[in-house]
Amino acid sequence: MSKRTFSIGGVHPHDNKISRECAIEPLPLSPTVYLSMSQHIGAPAKPVVAVGDKVKVGQVVAEPGGFVSAFIHSSVSGTVKSIGPRKDLAGNPQTCIEIAVEGDEWLEGIDTSDTLVTGIPADNKAIIDKIRLGGVVGLGGATFPTHVKLSPPPGSKCERVIINGCECEPYLTSDYRTLLEKGEQVVVGAAILRQVMGGVPCTIAIEENKPEAVAHIQDVIRKLGYEGIEVMVMKMMYPQGGEKQLIDAVMHRQVGSGALPISVGAVVQNVATALAVYDAVQKNKPIVDNSVTVTGECFPRQANLLVRVGTPLSYIIDYLGGVPADAVKVISGGPMMGRAVANLDAATVKGTGALLFLTEKQTRRQPASACIRCGKCADACPMGLEPFLLNRLVKVNDLEQLEANAAQDCIECGCCLYSCPAHIPLLDNIRMGKGAVLGAIRARAAKK
């Protein structure tokens, strides 16, 4: 069988999965954690604890601040020290709850054992409610509240649930390790998602560079005897993990401009999200930890760590031996879509998937020269855009033409920048244009 991939664009950076053999190990608790109120897309959560309160692991510390928002739970047990602004990874202040850690006492009712619970509750409404109360958000990077995604607008029908195990970003291995070590839980999570969406078929998509994970998950599905869940081996291609690209690859359907995946009958959830769904529904365990890949050629101790949400980055790095001397850049996420960290004292959030250390040589930007109209960026764009054109339109600030040329559809994957032989900062400029166009669209909608 020929392996599938999405139909247009894409690039193929070397996958550099140097931490693939490192088993997930729990990180010892840091003395203090900082829980940000903006760990998800949408309205920030509202704190419901006060300074001096004692909290346990899994206790709700903040409530959703709107429909698209999520619960936040304490990831440690201890005392609330302060609630106030603290700088996030980008240096921007966010409201954070500071908790001084005392012991590791979990809230009653949370099943912390390793026993696999395969019996899925029959009531779908109750399941979605449990997912909501568990503060589950999409852990693939966008951190969109999962319960919102699982409640499609009336009139739309889901035809397939896709579990995203592509992990197409170079260096990242936390999803791969999760598939290997928590395969059973992920598959049960997939079965739950599939049942919630009305018993539709489910595809677990894994790229071909992870044959062990493919074999293991196929094994697990056979062992658990689930019907309707299949593993699909994907060709290696970046950005296959993008929602629209994955739907194209798996279902051969294209999501229209500005449309949601549900419009073509697809619901995509990340592997880590499936695990979080399993934990929330079967174990009553909200998101209090997530696995983080710490890697980079210059980093002496590669690791996949199970990190409590809100752990300061500096604590993680110190645990693994400190910042290497030749590292000049720390990136939160993968090298393609991740963002450089401006502040190492910042704490992790639910969506933090990786810390990547890069050397001066790896991060050096070549000076930009003139566009030679080779069209490589247009070939590489997985959304079928023309980055060279958008770049020029941003420079003259032509919002109308930017919108007509679908700048708002850019997924910021960086394929254009990666493929440009003239080293033009295409993505930087297009991102600006995209922001301006989205602002104009919003202003127009508000006027109506």
Partner: protein, 297 residues
Amino acid sequence: MTSTIIWTIAIITVLGLVLALVLYLVAKKFKVEEDPRIDEVEKVMPGANCGGCGFAGCRAFAEAAVGAPNLDNNFCPVGGNDVMAKVAAILGYEVSAKAPQVAVVRCNGTCENRPKVNEYDGFASCKVKAALYSGDTACAFGCLGCGDCAAACQFGALTMDPSTGLPVVDESKCTACGACAKACPKRIIELRPKGPRGMREFVSCVNHDKGPAAKKACAAACIGCGICVKTCTHEAIVLDNNVAYIDPAKCKLCRECEAMCPTGAIHGVNFPKPLDKDAVKERIKARQQKAKEAAHV
């Protein structure tokens, strides 16, 4: 051979005449009636087409001015009062003189005052940098130093000073068109009245952080202590969101706030004499003492 040439010339001439007639008739029939005053107004405009008035260019300004009931909302910052007086004369409107303005950079985060905490190696544009993160210093409000303002200035009035990393305004060239203020993603550039003989007093900081955080980020930050507000006898200073602001309309240029500011965030420019801080402090002390005694009595 000769006849071909003659015929060609004749046909082309006749064709040209016929088409000219058609064009003449069409132009006559579909002529757009335009107020002749638009052309007159445009003629007296500076012709910089900078957009500082809020319109696309000088012609658009002229059209708007001719169509407007008065000139209250139309002002050409480049031409200033002279040009506006001419425009008013053409249109027969009254126009009150406006105080000339100048762009003021409200950030004093020089390399010494505001040490870098990380290094930015992305595309050199303030707009791009501001969209990515808070900046390469601990101050999330101040100048990003990539020079979008200098690039936006059409009059060569703004240059980046490499020693401080901050933009410098050449007052003689600045026309107060406001392009720099619009280009700055941190909104640190403000158009302020030039003041008598160019003298003006302003708070050179926009940091909203609380005192300790602001001070830690930048030695010359406004820490929101409120001493200037207490010192000012003209009620010209307000403290909002941890940063002071001097209202130029109320400021009497006494420089007392500048002398009292603990971080030196308040700047006075173009004064003939340098500020003698101790003398001003003595003066304020004596005044406060007097007030206290008066209160006792």
